[in-house]
């Protein structure tokens, strides 16, 4: 009478145990809800982890050679609710690219346009990505895996998901969670590195709070000019850079307010839910509880810390050749955790000199970091993809 009915309890035990992953999912939910750390990301991811590790739910089922398997299979056909969303949303590269559309619609490029040299600080911070790439190779990862680990240094979740999906799909859960976790931990990770590499006098370097005026024409020309230049030089960056700049054009053109509003709000929210759930559901016990996952987290923090340090060092080097001194802390905002990095710089700047308002100065490298990381993803794809 019961047919093939069975509960999920017998499958909860053994190794690797789903119970550990359910516990990890609950920790992510706790961090998101109670600690308010990146709640828009950690809540869907955490719930997805819990959901996918409850046995026999079939959310990530795939059909491979006519047989149904419990986990997502790159070479199979999706058969579960989340595996379908994952397959058509992430494996087909739609969700990360469209998230860039929403990010573009939410981004104000005027601090960058007002002070274009801050783009160099965004480029400098990408050193961390390449440094971690080389370190990951030393630890025995393949080129594709090392690139996917290195990109965590950019602290940009959608770019990490996009690149890992293309180069090392088996690592997507670990790299995505590492990237989003380190984005959330920016206020904890960056201050000690900044303090280690700067004197109090350097942290107190005053910058005029007012940036120059940016005209509407400049704002409109920026996304068009940036699209043409970046995609001509790094063609494989087109999906991310193209969507990012298109979203921004909708925002600044002044004639597509409805589209910009949808991209920045409703669409962005839908995409965030889908992406977060998919990443969480990719973290099954057998796929995630591996030494490699731990290594990804360790190397990810190396990448992020090195990116912070090198952005800062580059700002100090720029001070050696520039008449107009910049506060070197704004170089640390060259990682693309927008706007958390810029806020950290603002807070530390005020601690050193309460009259110093560095937020808008730090937003320039911060936004440049987003462009830089997406460009680096295109470079990796061009060389390895």
């Amino acid at each position: 009478m019961l047919g093939s009915f069975q509960t999920g309890f017998p499958d909860l035990y053994g190794w690797p145990s789903p119970i550990l992953m359910i516990f990890l999912g609950c920790i992510l939910l706790y961090l998101g809800i109670a600690r308010k750390m990146e709640p828009l990301l950690l809540v869907p991811i955490g719930f997805g982890v819990v959901l996918t590790n409850l046995p026999l739910g079939g959310l990530m089922e795939s059909v491979v050679a006519g047989r149904v398997v419990e986990s997502f299979a790159v070479d199979g056909q999706p058969a579960g609710l989340i595996s379908r969303i994952f397959y058509y949303g992430i494996a087909w590269e739609i969700l990360p690219s469209l998230i860039f559309l929403g990010l573009g619609a939410m981004t104000d490029f005027s601090p960058l346009i007002a002070n274009p040299k801050t783009l160099l600080l965004g480029a400098g911070a990408q050193f961390g990505v390449f440094f971690a790439f080389l370190i990951a190779l030393l630890f025995g990862f393949s080129m594709n895996e090392a690139a996917s680990i290195g990109i965590i240094g950019g602290a940009d979740g959608p770019t990490t998901v996009y690149l890992t999906n293309r180069l090392a799909p088996g690592f997507i859960g670990a790299t995505a969670v590492a990237a989003y976790t380190y984005m959330a931990l920016v206020p904890i990770i960056q201050p000690p590195i900044i303090k280690l590499l700067t004197t109090k006098k350097e942290r107190a370097i005053y910058m005029e709070p007012q940036l120059r005026s940016v005209s509407k024409t400049e704002e409109i020309l920026f996304p068009v000019v940036a699209t043409v230049i970046i995609i001509l030089l790094v063609p494989k960056s087109a999906p991310l850079i193209g969507m990012f700049m298109f979203g921004n054009l909708l925002h600044v053109s002044g004639v597509t307010d409805r589209l910009a509003d949808t991209a920045a709000n409703a669409l962005m929210n839908i995409l965030t839910i889908l992406l977060g759930l998919c990443i969480g559901c990719f973290m099954s016990a057998e796929g995630f509880l591996k030494v490699e996952s731990l290594m990804v987290f360790v190397l990810g923090v190396v990448a992020f810390a090195t990116a912070t340090a090198f952005g800062l060092i580059l700002a100090k080097l720029m001070n050696l050749v520039s008449k107009e001194k910049i506060n070197p802390m704004i170089g640390a905002a060259g990682v693309s955790a927008v706007p958390m990095s810029a806020r950290v710089v603002q807070k530390m700047g005020q601690e050193a000199d309460p009259n110093n308002f560095l937020l808008m100065h730090a937003m320039g490298p911060n936004i440049a970091g987003v462009i830089g990381t997406a460009t680096v993803a295109g470079i990796f794809l061009g060389m390895l993809g």
Partner: protein, 54 residues
């Protein structure tokens, strides 16, 4: 599995160099656009419409 360190070095070196080149070219282009627009604006004697960078 051995690592091809020559290729890895090329990816690291050329990759980092390329991202610098891309963003430097973009910075120059932005600066140039701003310069041209300010010249045109001052030629016409029109006030700039815009925000204060925020």
């Amino acid at each position: 599995m051995g690592v091809d360190w020559s290729l890895a070095g090329q990816i690291g070196g050329i990759g980092f160099g390329l991202v610098f080149v891309v963003l430097t070219v973009l910075a120059l282009a932005i600066w140039l656009v701003g310069l041209v627009l300010s010249k045109i604006g001052s030629g016409k004697g029109e006030p700039e419409i815009g925000n204060n960078g925020g």
